[in-house]
């Protein structure tokens, strides 16, 4: 019975959606914040050389800089710096 199987699958998908919402909705913000904190630390490591903090892995992190530049503005604002701390290219 292909129709029945479809209904069951549909029903299961809905149940999964509701269960996941119920599970994650109350803690969405706490977890997202923890994730952001971790990423902020990573940003600091990637851009540390440009702010005068020596980083032995800068050979590798240099490659990541253009990828992370998009998030740079939000990051320095979050870290309490009104304007970009970098001398060479500024976002604001």
């Amino acid at each position: 019975m292909p129709l029945d199987r479809q209904t069951i699958a549909e029903w299961l998908r809905k149940a999964t959606y509701v269960a996941e919402e119920v599970y994650s909705a109350p803690y969405r913000s706490a977890i997202a914040r923890a994730k952001r904190d971790e990423e902020d630390l990573f940003m600091l490591m990637v851009f540390s050389e440009m702010m005068g903090v020596p980083n032995p892995a800068s050979y590798y992190t240099l490659e990541l800089q253009p990828l992370l530049l998009e998030r740079f503005h939000d990051w320095h604002r979050r870290m309490g710096m009104e304007h970009s701390p970098l001398d060479h290219f500024k976002c604001c």
Partner: protein, 558 residues
């Protein structure tokens, strides 16, 4: 009288309240606007502000506000007979709690989803905000101390529940890791998790776990309290996804299962209420019904704690403003049904009046144990399961509620200490380890300070907890009333509950002050004075703010 009549009357009253009164409040007083852009849309960021389906949001709101308190309060209060407790739960839910919770969500949504504390600062005054913080601190302190005592008493009275209570923590952390690492899908994990919880409940009577009478110099209840706080200490330091999140989830499912089992058992077994409607000869030492009833049942009739949940997380996720009615008001109705179940269990679950009187031999004696014993007898009559298993089921339910509240309570208290560290520039206090130690230390002090080395007298704080909780509700109602004055809307519907609460709270505190004085209980005497000062400050703040706004409005309209 059959308990079915009481159940239908209660549920019917709550349903009417939701259908008619909440609609009236929504349309005429709060004037909800389906087109209003809620903060969840205005500031949508996928982190805090996320528009959420209203049923999901209701489930979250309801399970965060419903804890052990709506069980303990009514189960203690039926000592005056089932009539007063029943009336206060039904009327309180319809006219007090519903309006309060609903109003807190509405007020917060209309003010960029600010928390009630911040809103008090904006709408009332900075001074009121500090009072608010102190009252929150006191509420959390008492709730943690009382619930530790409640759980410890239950674990001693029902050794069969010990396995499931602690086993759930293990199951929850396994679920947490499995979901976080995305090993498998949630529905499968849910089924396995819930099944293993009920398997442990069923196995409980076979493997009862008891502590020896004395563990070294400590009694068994004191040992359980220490173990519970050690657990809460660790739990509140862990990342939320490890334990708190899956534990809350299981707890929510368990709440619905418990309510369903309880109400269906009442329908099948149709037990008779043996307790009197108004108890003519209450045991000596029982304080008078007015005002103590109104602080003994706080959650289940009106509770300030709900305002914190409503303005903290719920208002940030509200999809449409009109959803506030369902989420807030129906959330309180949910809690009312839990309180109602507690009343029925504690009055109809006994064979004779003499048996009931033996359990309620002194004030505070019945409580949650009476709920478990009475409820178990009803469930075993209705569903035919052994009374031991049924008792285990209910004891586990009450323990899990109290336990999750403790987890969250200690965590919130830690945040308060950290905030104080921020305000007063104490670097050490900002770190989580010392802040958590302070939080746990303060609660332990209260639990043992109130009950001596036994730690068992902690239930004495219960009415004090109720008063503090009502004060918090009073502050929230004040904020809503002031906003209504500013919007030139009728204020009776929030002002009357506010005045009633303040009068009853201060009255109850004075009555208790005398009791503690006569008993020579200086520790609780001191705590009572502390709460009394807060209550008087709140009352003064209310009167001055309301007068100020009222005069401003009159001079404007001239």
């Amino acid at each position: 009288m059959s308990a079915i009549i009481l159940m239908l009357l209660g549920l019917g009253g709550l349903a009417l309240g939701f259908v008619f009164y909440s609609r009236f409040i929504a349309e005429k007083i709060y004037q909800l606007d389906p087109d209003f852009r809620t903060p969840a849309h205005e500031f949508e960021d996928g982190v805090d502000y996320v528009p959420t389906n209203k049923v999901v949001l209701w489930g979250h709101h309801f399970t965060s506000v419903a804890g052990a308190a709506p069980i303990v309060g009514p189960a203690v209060a039926v000592i005056w007979g089932w009539g007063p407790a029943f009336l206060w739960v039904v009327i309180g839910t319809i006219f007090f709690a519903g309006v309060h919770d609903f109003g807190a969500i509405w007020a917060s949504t209309r003010n960029k989803a600010k928390s009630m504390g911040a809103l008090t600062g904006d709408v009332v005054s900075a001074r009121a905000r500090s009072i608010f913080m102190i009252v929150i601190f006191l509420v959390l302190l008492m709730v943690n101390a009382v619930f530790a005592v409640v759980i410890s008493n239950l674990l001693i009275a029902y050794p069969s529940a010990v396995l499931a209570v602690w086993g759930t923590i293990v199951v929850a952390s396994i679920i947490g890791v499995v979901i976080y690492q995305q090993y498998t899908s949630l529905p499968l994990v849910t089924v396995v998790g819930v099944l293993s919880l009920y398997l442990m409940v069923g196995m409980g009577p076979v493997v009862p776990i008891e502590l020896p009478e004395m563990v070294g110099p400590l009694s068994n209840s004191a040992t359980w309290i220490l173990i519970l706080f050690a657990y809460a200490f660790i739990a509140s330091m862990l990342p939320v996804w490890v334990l708190l999140q899956p534990r809350d989830y299981i707890n929510g499912i368990q709440l619905f299962v418990g309510l369903g089992v309880m109400y269906s058992a009442v329908l099948i077994a149709s037990p008779t209420i043996v307790a009197p409607m108004v108890n003519p000869d209450v045991p000596s030492g029982t304080p008078s019904l007015i005002p103590l009833l109104f602080v003994t049942i706080a959650c289940g009739a009106i509770s300030g704690f709900h305002g914190l949940v409503a303005s903290g997380t719920t208002s940030k996720q509200l999809d449409r403003e009109t959803d506030a009615r369902f989420v807030g008001y129906f959330g309180s109705v949910g809690e009312g049904t839990l309180a109602l179940a507690a009343i029925i269990a504690a009055t109809a679950g006994f064979a004779t009046l003499g048996e009931w009187e033996a359990v309620y031999a002194s004030f505070g004696a019945g409580g949650v144990e009476a709920f478990v014993a009475g409820g178990a007898s009803i469930i075993s009559q209705g569903w035919g399961m052994s009374e031991e298993v049924a008792a285990t089921l209910l004891a586990v339910m009450a323990c899990l509620f109290a336990g999750t509240t403790m987890d969250t309570g200690i965590r919130l208290q830690r945040y308060i200490f950290q905030e104080w560290g921020e305000i007063y520039n104490q670097a050490w206090m900002k770190r989580s380890l010392p802040a958590t130690s302070l939080a746990v230390g303060a609660c332990l002090l209260l639990a043992f300070g109130a009950g001596g080395a036994e730690g068992a007298g902690g239930m004495l704080i219960w009415p004090l907890f109720g008063t503090t909780n009502q004060l918090l509700a009073g502050l929230t109602l004040l904020v809503i009333t002031v906003i209504l004055i500013q919007k030139r809307r009728p204020i009776v519907y929030t002002l009357v509950p506010l005045i009633f609460l303040l009068v009853m709270t201060i009255f109850a505190l004075l009555v208790q002050l005398r009791t503690f004085f006569e008993a020579g209980d200086w520790f609780l005497f001191f705590v009572d004075i502390l709460v009394l000062i807060a209550a008087i400050l709140v009352a003064l703040e209310c009167s001055s703010t309301l007068r100020h706004h009222y005069q401003a409005m009159r001079s404007q309209s001239r």
